[in-house]
């Protein structure tokens, strides 16, 4: 029963990705193409998401337990270190190359199974390589 909450939240997150346009790699690249014919839509996706989540996160930060009494597990790392910068750079390059980030990659499996599987398989391999060799 407890697993219905993460299942439902995954669904809701996926619906948001589908409605927002984030699952269309061409639209994502159109947003990243500020030097060309720029589609600003995805700035509004981030704006809409942060607009809704900002106050709940401030509320959560002030609590030790969640509304359901679970422990609040917020990240504790604060350092802006080399790993963060190198990792985010590589992620950004990969994101630009195909226009797909992890969430939309998983949703792509249900939209275009062949290309979705190619991307997700490679992404899982990349995650595995990181965990094995670059922790």
């Amino acid at each position: 029963m407890a697993l219905l909450i993460p299942l439902g939240l995954g669904l809701l997150f996926g619906f948001g990705l589908l409605l927002s346009g984030m699952t269309d790699p061409g639209k994502v690249q159109g947003f990243l193409d500020i030097a060309g014919h720029w589609d600003p839509s995805l700035a509004l996706v981030m704006g809409g998401a942060i607009g809704v989540a900002l106050l709940p996160f401030q509320h959560a930060r002030a609590r030790l337990k969640t509304w359901l009494g679970m422990p609040m597990q917020l990240p504790t790392a604060r350092q802006i270190d080399r790993r963060l910068i190198v990792g985010s750079t590589l992620f950004g390059i990969g994101w630009g190359l195909a226009g797909i980030c992890p969430g939309p990659g998983l949703v792509l499996l249900g939209l275009d199974l062949g290309h979705g599987a190619l991307f997700v398989g490679a992404m899982l391999a990349g995650m595995g390589l990181q965990q094995r060799y670059a922790r």
Binding site: D33, V52, V86, I93, G96, L97
Partner: protein, 145 residues
């Protein structure tokens, strides 16, 4: 630069963004966790599996089921994928490796981290945004074209 008004979809972008934000907000308020896709997925590759593996699988299952359910009510959005299969593989490797090395992606740093007002996530978000913009710029306009 010119603005592609003909592709601009402000209402679905804001609405979809709001749903993403709602999912992230409920995730932290109910479960006390960050809705970061790369982190949740990456944990499932660890051996031994973490104790919350079933929780992670349930969330990922929701994401995977989303297009199937969405498609029963709405038109599934069109996708325009210009990358070749080889480029998709390279992109996937970089996205997987980079998001785990940098401890997050668009969801964990971009949505949740910025909503937490985390300077670390702001730095990560700026870096991957600029990285993505430079990459698309080079792909589309680089080397003289």
């Amino acid at each position: 630069m010119s603005i592609a008004w003909e592709h601009f979809t402000p209402y679905s972008a804001l609405g979809g963004g709001a749903l993403i934000g709602l999912a992230a907000a409920l995730m932290v308020l109910l479960e006390g966790r960050i809705a970061g896709i790369s982190g949740i997925l990456g944990g499932l590759l660890q051996r031994p599996l973490p104790p919350d593996a079933r929780w992670r699988m349930a969330f990922i299952a929701g994401l995977l089921l989303a297009p199937l359910l969405y498609g029963t009510v709405f038109h599934l959005p069109a996708i325009h994928l210009s990358a070749s299969p080889l480029l998709i593989i390279v992109a996937g490797l970089l996205v997987g490796f980079g998001s785990r090395l940098g401890s997050g992606c668009t969801s964990g740093h971009g949505v949740c981290g910025l909503s937490r007002l985390s300077p670390r996530s702001l730095a990560a978000t700026l870096v991957f945004m600029v990285g993505g913009m430079l990459t698309v710029g080079l792909l589309r306009h680089g080397l003289g074209n």
